[in-house]
Structure formats: structure tokens, C-alpha cells
């Protein structure tokens, strides 16, 4: 270390943040260079005395003022959110689009005689419903996804995209309530072999006894006899809840 390095590292030396090699170099230099030693001693006195400055304490009123301000801020924030939350909500935005289209359809019905155009508009409404359902099913918020499941009742039975999204929800949604609602919504697709197969396959993927029981009920209601082997698999599996096993037994008897 030369005299320049010493100056640059002095404060870190006092703070104790110099690494070992630099500290040794610093001490070696200070013991041999009287000029640097004198400067270091003088400035260290300043640095140490600074550390002895008494710290003023804030008054108690500061805390009171802060919390009063925070409460006021929160009140305003809640007010602001309540005033406009529905405008920013994806469900509202999608529903508004559907309403506008429906209004357009009605006006079209009254004014136009072109049935082709009306059919086209109906198609658009249908795809808008699909869009709302799919987008809600992908929301982070569980209540939004539940709303998405509700919307799925409005789409055509032949809508394979919505069916696929519902099956994904049944298999992977982290919230039990959403999975349960999606199982119920499969009634809307009762005629679809894909829906029936998906439900049966999902039976052994579930970890929640509630969802397993709901799927078993659905299978029984749909009279899906191909589910037999899966239900038996559930009954013999070691990590399945006893009440689910009992219900599986019941379901098997119902399907016979």
C-alpha cells in the first residue's frame, strides 16, 4: 500500500470493514510512514468524536401524526377502490362487451332483415362468452375463477376449449372450492365423451377427498360405466381417505 491507498482506505479501517490483507498492509504502512500515521491519528480522533454525538430523539407527537395520516390515507384508498373497482375488473369489462353486443343484436333484429348478419352476431356473442369464461378461469383470484366456472354454463356444449379449461381446473386448480364447482359444471357437457373420459381420468389425480367424492357422484349421475376400473383403483389405493373408499364402493354398486 502506498500513501494514496492509505487515505482511501482509512475510514474502512476504522469501521473494521477492510479485508485482512488490506488491514495488514495498512498497519505495516502506518508503522513505517510517520506522515500517514500523524494524519491517521488526527482524523481518527475526529471520526471517533463524531460517533459520540448525542442523538436527538423524536417527539411522541411524530408517531401520533404518522398513524393519523396513515388512517386517512387508507380511508381514501379504500374509497377510491370502491368507487371504481368494477370498471377495472376483467369480469365487468368482458360483461360490458357482451352487453354491448347483445344490444347490437337486438337493434339488428329490429332493423335488419338479413338473417345471415344476425347469425354472425350470435356467433360473436357466443365467442365472447367463451372468452369471458376462459379469461376468468385463468385469473389468480379464486373467486374470479369460480365466476369463470359459472360462466361456463352459458357456453355451447360443443365448446371444446372451455371443456378443456374446465378439465384443467378440475385437475390443477389449487383451490378445492373451484375444483368442486368445475366438477359440477361438467353436467353441462354430459353428452361429451371427452368430458366423461376426463372426469374418470381425474379421479385418481385428486388428493382432496371432497373432490374425489364429487367426481364419484358426477360419474354415477352420468352413468359412466367405463369408470369401473378407476373406481376400483381408488378403493385399493393405500393413501385414499376411508370415507372416499366407502363412497367408491357405493358408486361401483350404483353403476352395476
Amino acid at each position: 500500500m502506498n500513501c494514496e491507498d492509505i487515505k482511501r482506505n482509512l475510514v474502512e479501517y476504522w469501521r473494521g470493514t477492510l479485508d485482512e490483507a488490506d488491514r495488514v498492509g495498512m498497519e505495516a504502512h502506518l508503522s513505517s510512514c510517520s506522515q500517514c500515521r500523524a494524519e491517521a491519528e488526527g482524523l481518527k480522533h475526529i471520526w471517533s468524536t463524531l460517533g459520540e454525538f448525542p442523538e436527538a430523539e423524536p417527539g411522541l407527537g411524530m408517531r401520533t401524526r404518522f398513524y393519523a395520516g396513515l388512517r386517512e390515507w387508507e380511508r381514501r384508498e379504500i374509497e377510491r377502490r370502491h368507487r371504481f373497482w368494477w370498471i377495472r375488473h376483467p369480469a365487468f369489462q368482458a360483461a360490458a362487451a357482451v352487453l354491448i353486443l347483445v344490444a347490437g343484436l337486438l337493434i339488428g333484429n329490429m332493423t335488419a332483415t338479413d338473417h345471415g348478419q344476425v347469425a354472425q352476431l350470435r356467433n360473436e356473442v357466443s365467442s365472447m362468452k367463451q372468452l369471458v369464461t376462459l379469461s376468468l378461469l385463468q385469473q389468480q383470484n379464486a373467486s374470479d375463477r369460480l365466476r369463470g366456472v359459472t360462466w361456463s354454463y352459458r357456453v355451447e356444449q360443443s365448446d371444446s376449449e372451455v371443456l378443456g379449461a374446465l378439465l384443467t381446473t378440475i385437475n390443477h386448480d389449487p383451490t378445492v372450492n373451484v375444483r368442486l364447482a368445475a366438477v359440477d359444471a361438467m353436467k353441462n357437457f354430459a353428452d361429451s365423451p371427452v368430458a366423461r373420459k376426463g372426469l374418470v381420468q381425474s379421479l385418481n389425480k385428486q388428493s382432496s377427498p371432497m373432490v374425489q367424492i364429487a367426481i364419484l357422484d358426477e360419474i354415477v349421475e352420468l352413468r359412466e360405466k367405463s369408470a369401473g376400473p378407476s373406481i376400483q383403483g381408488l378403493m385399493t389405493s393405500s393413501n385414499v381417505n376411508p370415507s372416499v373408499k366407502e363412497h367408491a364402493n357405493w358408486a361401483l354398486r350404483q353403476l352395476q
Binding site: 487515505k7 482511501r8 482506505n9 482509512l10 475510514v11 474502512e12 469501521r15 470493514t17 488526527g42 482524523l43 475526529i46 471520526w47 468524536t49 463524531l50 460517533g51 459520540e52 454525538f53 448525542p54 442523538e55 436527538a56 430523539e57 423524536p58 417527539g59 407527537g61 411524530m62 408517531r63 401524526r65 404518522f66 398513524y67 395520516g69 396513515l70 390515507w73 387508507e74 384508498e77
Partner: protein, 180 residues
């Protein structure tokens, strides 16, 4: 702060409890005025709530907070054009005084030296000595490299030392006079 940014304003109370004292000390060291410093602490928390979206979780929180504090301090300086209050202790000649009193007067002289230090140098000492921030954090607050902070802090200590010794010599040359 991440929670505050995501709308959890109640988490601001946790930040207040953790940081209001260091912030208050920062302002008192910078402007020497208790009342103004309390106002500025409030101002910092209001700004934090207002600009919470500008906080980047990958950057040190202290750097973001002190950047806001610096802006609040600078705005106040421009508005008020006040001067840093000097200490009013009687800094008379040290003949016959006991060690404790001598030491107290030394602190008082150093406080006066701090008040005379140019603002940017005073700030470096406040951040490094009183707030005990790491050089990386100071570099982030000031928007410069760590190497530059090392040099600047050294120069600030040296400048403070110079003013302090001048004040001491003047005091010894003219004992009993108030230094202003």
C-alpha cells in the same frame, strides 16, 4: 416494502417503526432543526406511500428511502433557505476544566464544524458515520461508484478535521468569545 407496493398500506406502520428514528437522526444532522426534521420524516413516509410503485425490490430499500429523504431535505432547503443551527454551549477556554467538560466542549466544537461543512460533505459523513450505511448503499443513493464514495468520505473527514482545528485554534487564541 414489497407488501406496501402491492397495496398493503398497513405494512407502512412496520416501516415507520423500523426507520423513523434513523430518518429523524439523518435530518437533524443535516439541518440541525428538530421541528423541521420531524416534518421531514412525515414527508418521507407520505412520499413513500405516494411513489411506492417506484420501489424496485431488487435494489436495497435503504438506498430508495434515503433518496426520498435527500429530495425532501433539498426541497425544504430551497423553500426555507434556513441555516443550520449552531450549538450554543459556552465554549470557553479549557484552563482548569475537568476532562469530561473538555470532551463535551470538543463535541460542541465538532458540531459547529459539521454545521460549517459544505452540504454534500456533511451528507457523506451523516450517511457513513451516523446512519452507518455500507459504501454500496451510499453509492446507490448518490448514484456513483463505491470507489468514489471511499475517496469522498475520506475528503469529507479531512475537511471536517480542518474546520475543527481552525475553530479550536481560534478559540484558544481568543478564549471566552462565542464562535458563530
Amino acid at each position: 416494502m414489497r407488501e406496501v407496493r402491492e397495496g398493503e398500506l398497513a405494512s407502512m406502520a412496520v416501516l415507520f417503526e423500523r426507520h423513523h428514528r434513523p430518518l429523524f437522526h439523518y435530518f437533524v444532522h443535516m439541518n440541525g432543526n428538530r421541528e423541521l426534521s420531524e416534518d421531514l420524516v412525515q414527508d418521507v413516509f407520505v412520499r413513500m406511500m405516494k411513489y411506492r410503485n417506484s420501489y424496485r425490490p431488487d435494489k436495497p430499500f435503504a438506498a430508495w428511502m434515503y433518496q426520498i429523504a435527500r429530495n425532501a431535505q433539498n426541497d425544504a432547503m430551497q423553500k426555507r433557505k434556513f441555516e443550520v443551527e449552531l450549538g450554543h454551549a459556552d465554549v470557553s477556554s479549557s484552563h482548569g476544566m475537568d476532562e469530561k467538560l473538555k470532551h463535551e466542549q470538543e463535541i460542541e466544537l465538532l458540531r459547529q464544524a459539521m454545521a460549517r461543512l459544505p452540504l454534500e460533505k456533511r451528507e457523506l459523513l451523516v450517511l457513513s458515520r451516523f446512519q452507518n450505511l455500507k459504501y454500496e448503499e451510499i453509492a446507490s443513493i448518490l448514484g456513483c461508484e463505491v470507489g468514489a464514495v471511499k475517496v469522498r468520505v475520506y475528503r469529507a473527514v479531512r475537511a471536517l478535521g480542518q474546520i475543527f482545528f481552525e475553530l479550536t485554534h481560534r478559540r484558544m487564541a481568543a478564549p471566552g468569545e462565542e464562535i458563530a
